[in-house]
C-alpha cells in the first residue's frame, strides 16, 4: 500500500483581493513525480511556495508525511518541513564553493561524513571536478545539477522544483530532462515540479495536475490527460485537437459531420444537450475513397509525417496526420477523410460528460 507523501486539500490563497489559489486538492504518493502544469499566472508557483512554506494558506490544509504543515491557523516554517526546493534561478550561494553549497543543508555534524556525502552526491552528477569552483564559474546545466543535489543533500521527504529547465537552452534541456528523471528515480525521491511546458511534464512526471486560474482542472497520468481530458481547457492545452459539434439522437446515436461515431443506447440520457466531440489529429485519416471531403487549407511538413489543416463543409477546421511518404494533396484541393476513432470524449460545454465512448 503506497502512502501519500503530500496531501493538499481545499487550499486557497489570495494576494490582496486577487484569489490566486482556490479549492486546490492534490495527493502525491511516495516516489512519485508530480507536475503542476499551466500557463504563467495560473498559480502553480504559488502552490509550490505554499507547499514549501514560504506562503501561508487562507484556507484548507497541506499535509506532508502525515504532518499538517499549513492551514488557516498554522504555518510550519519552511526549515521544519523537510522539503527541498530547487529555485528557477537556482539561488546558489555566490560566496560558497560548490561543495560548500551542497554541504550547507546537511544536518550531520561530523565533517568527515559531510564531505563523504558531498563527494558521493557530486559523483552522482559527474561534477567531482567542480567541487571547489564558485557557482558563477559553472555553466547553466552545471548550476542546475548543483542546485538539485544541494536540495537532495538533506534527504528531504519531498523535493520541489520550480521551472527547473527554464534557464537552459533547448539542446541542454533535452539532456537535463532525462538526467533529472533518472536522478530523481535513483534517489527514489518524491517530487513536485512546476512547469508551463507540456513536453517537460510528459517526459518527467508520473502524474500531472493541469492548472488554470488557481484551480486544478485535472489530475492524472499523461495518458489520461491527453486521451481522457475532463475539461475543454485541458484538452486544448495538451496537444492539438478539435471539438466537432455532434448530435445525439434519442436512441443514443452520436452523429457528426463526418459520420456516426457511436451508437450506444446508454448515451440516450444526454440527448437534447448541445454536445461536441474531441478529435485528435490521429483520429482522422486520409482516405481518398471516403465520401467525406474536406478542403486543404495548409500543409506542414514534420519529417516523419505531415499535418494537413482541413476545412470541413461546415467551415470547421480540423487536422489530419499522414505519413510523409503518402501522396501529397495540394493546398485548396479537396481531400477524402474518414474517422478512425479509438475512443471518443464527449463534451457538454466546458466539461467532458462521457470519457470512454467506444466507437462502433
Amino acid at each position: 500500500m503506497t502512502r501519500n507523501v503530500l496531501e493538499v486539500s481545499d487550499v486557497a490563497y489570495s494576494y490582496g483581493s486577487t484569489q490566486v489559489l482556490n479549492e486546490v486538492d492534490l495527493k502525491v504518493e511516495e516516489g512519485e513525480i508530480a507536475c503542476l502544469l499551466g500557463a504563467s499566472g495560473c498559480g502553480k508557483t504559488t502552490l509550490l511556495r505554499c507547499i514549501a512554506g514560504f506562503e501561508s494558506v487562507a484556507n484548507g490544509m497541506i499535509v506532508i508525511n502525515g504532518t499538517m504543515v499549513s492551514s488557516k491557523t498554522r504555518l510550519v516554517p519552511p526549515e521544519s518541513r523537510n522539503v527541498g526546493i530547487v529555485f528557477q534561478d537556482y539561488a546558489l550561494f555566490p560566496h560558497l564553493t560548490v561543495s560548500e553549497n551542497i554541504a550547507f543543508g546537511i544536518r550531520q555534524k561530523d565533517p568527515e561524513s559531510i564531505s563523504k556525502k558531498v563527494s558521493s552526491l557530486l559523483a552522482s552528477v559527474n561534477l567531482e571536478s567542480k567541487k571547489d569552483a564558485y557557482p558563477q564559474e559553472l555553466s547553466g546545466g552545471q548550476q542546475q545539477r548543483v542546485a538539485l543535489i544541494r536540495a537532495l543533500a538533506p534527504e528531504p521527504d519531498l523535493l520541489l522544483l520550480d521551472e527547473p529547465f527554464s534557464n537552459l537552452d533547448n539542446s541542454l534541456r533535452e539532456k537535463m530532462k532525462r538526467e533529472l528523471k533518472a536522478l530523481l528515480k535513483s534517489f527514489g525521491v518524491t517530487a513536485v515540479l512546476v512547469t508551463h511546458n507540456q513536453d517537460e511534464a510528459f517526459d518527467i512526471a508520473d502524474k500531472i495536475a493541469v492548472m488554470q486560474q488557481g484551480r486544478i482542472l485535472q489530475w492524472g497520468s499523461a495518458y489520461q490527460l491527453y486521451h481522457e481530458p475532463l475539461h475543454h481547457f485541458v484538452a486544448e492545452f495538451l496537444g492539438s485537437g478539435v471539438f466537432l459539434p455532434a448530435d445525439l439522437t434519442t436512441e443514443g446515436r452520436l452523429e457528426t459531420e463526418l459520420g456516426v461515431i457511436t451508437d450506444d443506447p446508454s448515451l440516450a440520457q444526454y440527448s437534447d444537450t448541445h454536445l461536441s466531440i474531441l478529435l485528435r489529429p490521429d483520429d482522422i485519416v486520409a482516405d481518398d475513397k471516403s465520401t467525406h471531403k474536406a478542403r486543404v487549407v495548409a500543409i506542414a511538413f514534420r519529417g516523419m509525417y505531415q499535418v494537413y489543416s482541413l476545412r470541413l463543409e461546415s467551415g470547421k477546421e480540423i487536422q489530419c496526420f499522414t505519413s510523409s511518404h503518402e501522396q501529397r494533396h495540394e493546398v485548396n484541393s479537396m481531400m477524402g477523410i474518414r474517422l478512425a476513432v479509438h475512443h471518443a470524449v464527449i463534451f457538454s460545454g466546458e466539461n467532458a460528460i462521457v470519457r470512454h465512448v467506444n466507437p462502433t
Binding site: 514549501a52 506562503e55 487562507a58 526549515e79 522539503v83 526546493i85 529555485f87 534561478d89 550561494f93 543543508g105
Partner: protein, 536 residues
C-alpha cells in the same frame, strides 16, 4: 505577501529590537522636536524677519552646489572606474576615497590658508608682479571644500551601483541602438538611482549639518543660524526649534523618495561585472588626468600643507598626541562596531520580518545624521541625564547613598551619541548591499533550516562582507572626525584628536592644529586602506 503570514515568534524579537533601536536613536530628535512646546523665544521675530530668509537661501544654495558638484564628480568617477581600464585605475579606485580621512573643516582651513591674501599662492603671485586675487570666503569656496570632502560618498556608492547593475543591461541598451555614451544617461544613470539617492542624501545631510567648514568660509547657513540662536542669543530652545526644521525637511525627502520610487524594483540578479573596457591614447590620458587632478586637490594638497605645518612645530605638542590618538581609536572602534551591528539588525529585520512600520523605524533610526552635532548633543544629553537621575534616585532609594550620575560624562555617553549620529552611514552601506541579494537566496537558506542570526552569519554577512567592512571603516572615520558631540558628552580630562583640533582652530592656531589633524588623517587613512584590502 509576507504580511499574510501567521505571526512568527522569532520575528517578533527582531522587530522588537528594531523598535528599541529606533526609539533610542530618535529620543534626541524627539527631544529637539519637543522644543516647540516650550515658550517661544523673544528672538523669533528677529530671526524670522532679518536672517532666516538669508540662511535658508544660503543653505539651499550650498546644498544645490554641493549636490551638483558631488554628483558630477562622484558619478563620473564611479562610471569610469567601474567601466574602463586605464593607467592608475587600480590605485585611484581606493585612493579616491582618501579624502574621507580628512575632516571637511581641515580641508577648509588648509585651502583658506593657501588662498588667503597673505597666503603662499597670492603672495607668490604678487612677488612676480601679478596682482590678481580672489577671495575663497564665499559660498563657492565652502561648496568647493565640501565637494572635495564629500564626493567620495557618491563615488563609492554609485560605483557599487554600476557594478551591481551589471553589464548585461548596458549591452542590451547598446543592442537597442543606444550609443555608448548615451548608455550612461539612458540606462546606467536611471538604474543607479537608488545608490545615487542614498549617497546624495548622505551628502545633503552632511552639508546641512556642517558647521565647521561653513564657519571657516563665513557662509551663513541654517546650521550657523542654529549656533547663533544658541551661542549668541543663549537660547537652546530656539536652536532646537530651528534644528527640528532640518529634521523635518530631511525626513520629508526620505519619505518622498520612498513614495515616488514606489514598487519599481532595482534588484539585479545577475550581478555580472563583465570586463572593463581598456582605454588607450587620449581617452586614457583624460581619465588619468581627471582622477589625478581630483586626488591632488582633495587629498595631496591638503595633506602636504598639513605636513609642512606639522613638521615646523615644536616637539612638545607631539607628546600629548599618544593619549589623544588612543582615545580616538578606541572610540572609533567601539562606535563603528556598534553601529554596524545595529544596522545589520535593522537592515535584516526589514528584510526578514518586514512590516510597514519596520521601514519607518529603520529610517527614523538614521535621522540623527541630519542634525548638527551639537544640537544632537543637547537632544541626547537631556534624556540621558533625566534617565541618569532616575537611575541614581532608584539606587539611592535602594542603598541610601547617592551614586551620582553614572551614564552622563562617561565614554558610554560618547559612544551612544556618536552611534546615533552615524547610523545613517552604516545603514546606507548595508541596506544597499542587501538589496542586491535575491530573496530566493534567503528562501534557499531557510529551506535548509538556516534562519535569523544563523542565516545572517552563514549567508548575508559573507555575501555583504564588503559592505560590512565599508560600514565599519566609514563609521570609524566619521566618528573620529566628529567634534561637537564628542566635545559635549565626553568625560572629564578625556580628549580626542578632533577635540584638540577644535581647540586649536577656534584659537586660530591652524598651524598647530596640523599636528592632530595629520594624525587623525593617518588613522582614518589606515582604516580606509584596510577597507580597500577587505574589498578586494
Amino acid at each position: 505577501m509576507n504580511s499574510d503570514k501567521p505571526s512568527d515568534p522569532k520575528g517578533r524579537w527582531w522587530r522588537l529590537s528594531t523598535i528599541l533601536i529606533a526609539a533610542v536613536a530618535i529620543a534626541p530628535i524627539v527631544t529637539v522636536l519637543l522644543s516647540w512646546l516650550l515658550p517661544f523665544s523673544e528672538h523669533w521675530d528677529h530671526f524670522g524677519q532679518t536672517i532666516l530668509p538669508k540662511l535658508v537661501v544660503n543653505s539651499l544654495g550650498l546644498l544645490c552646489l554641493v549636490a551638483i558638484g558631488t554628483c558630477v564628480i562622484g558619478l563620473s568617477l564611479g562610471w569610469i572606474i567601474s567601466q574602463f581600464d586605464f593607467p592608475g585605475r587600480r590605485f585611484f579606485q581606493f585612493a579616491l576615497l582618501f579624502p574621507l580621512a580628512i575632516p571637511a573643516y581641515v580641508i577648509g582651513f588648509v585651502y583658506l590658508g593657501l588662498t588667503a591674501f597673505s597666503g603662499p599662492l597670492f603672495t607668490g603671485l604678487r612677488s612676480i608682479g601679478v596682482g590678481f586675487f580672489f577671495d575663497m570666503k564665499t559660498i563657492y569656496g565652502a561648496a568647493f571644500v565640501l565637494v572635495l570632502s564629500l564626493y567620495p560618498y557618491v563615488y563609492l556608492l554609485t560605483k557599487q551601483g554600476f557594478a551591481t547593475i551589471g553589464h548585461r543591461y548596458f549591452e542590451a541598451a547598446r543592442a537597442l541602438g543606444v550609443s555608448s555614451s548615451q548608455v550612461f544617461f539612458k540606462v546606467a544613470l536611471p538604474m543607479n538611482r537608488p545608490w545615487l539617492f542614498v549617497a546624495l542624501s548622505l551628502v545633503g545631510m552632511e552639508t546641512l549639518a556642517d558647521f565647521g567648514a561653513v564657519s571657516i568660509f563665513v557662509v551663513d547657513t541654517f546650521s550657523v543660524g542654529i549656533y547663533k540662536a544658541w551661542y549668541g542669543f543663549f537660547s537652546p530652545t530656539l536652536a532646537a526649534q530651528l534644528a527640528s526644521i532640518l529634521v523635518v525637511i530631511v525626513g520629508g525627502i526620505v519619505i518622498f523618495d520612498k513614495v515616488q520610487r514606489g514598487k519599481r524594483s532595482f534588484v539585479s540578479l545577475t550581478g555580472l561585472s563583465g570586463r572593463r573596457r581598456r582605454l588607450h591614447g587620449r581617452k586614457a590620458i583624460i581619465c588619468f588626468g581627471y582622477c589625478c587632478t581630483l586626488f591632488l586637490l582633495s587629498f595631496v594638497i591638503p595633506m602636504l600643507q598639513l605636513l609642512v605645518w606639522a613638521l615646523q612645530l615644536d616637539a612638545e605638542i607631539w607628546e600629548s598626541m599618544l593619549e589623544l590618538t588612543s582615545n580616538s581609536v578606541l572610540i572609533g572602534l567601539m562606535v563603528s562596531l556598534l553601529v554596524t551591528g545595529l544596522c545589520l539588525l535593522l537592515v535584516y529585520t526589514y528584510r526578514f520580518y518586514s512590516r510597514p512600520f519596520i521601514w519607518m523605524a529603520s529610517q527614523a533610526a538614521t535621522l540623527g545624521y541630519a542634525l548638527p552635532g551639537s544640537v544632537l548633543a543637547i537632544g541626547l544629553f537631556l534624556p540621558l541625564a533625566a534617565m541618569d537621575h532616575r537611575l541614581a534616585d532608584f539606587i539611592m532609594n535602594l542603598t541610601g547613598t547617592d551614586p551620582g550620575l553614572l551614564l552622563t560624562g562617561t565614554v558610554f555617553a560618547v559612544v551612544i551619541g556618536l552611534s546615533i549620529r552615524f547610523m545613517a552611514v552604516g545603514h546606507a552601506q548595508l541596506h544597499a548591499a542587501q538589496q542586491r541579494v535575491s530573496k530566493r537566496i534567503d528562501e534557499a537558506a531557510q529551506n535548509f533550516g538556516s534562519t535569523g542570526i544563523d542565516q545572517m552569519k552563514r549567508i548575508h554577512i559573507p555575501i555583504a562582507w564588503k559592505a560590512v567592512a565599508a560600514s565599519i571603516s566609514l563609521v570609524f572615520v566619521d566618528s573620529i572626525k566628529e567634534m561637537p558631540l564628542t566635545l559635549m558628552t565626553r568625560p572629564f580630562s578625556w580628549d580626542t584628536l578632533s577635540v584638540k583640533i577644535f581647540e586649536l582652530i577656534s584659537e586660530g592656531e591652524w598651524e598647530m592644529a596640523a599636528a592632530p589633524a595629520v594624525i587623525l588623517s593617518i588613522v582614518g587613512l589606515t582604516s580606509l586602506v584596510l577597507l580597500g584590502k577587505e574589498a578586494k
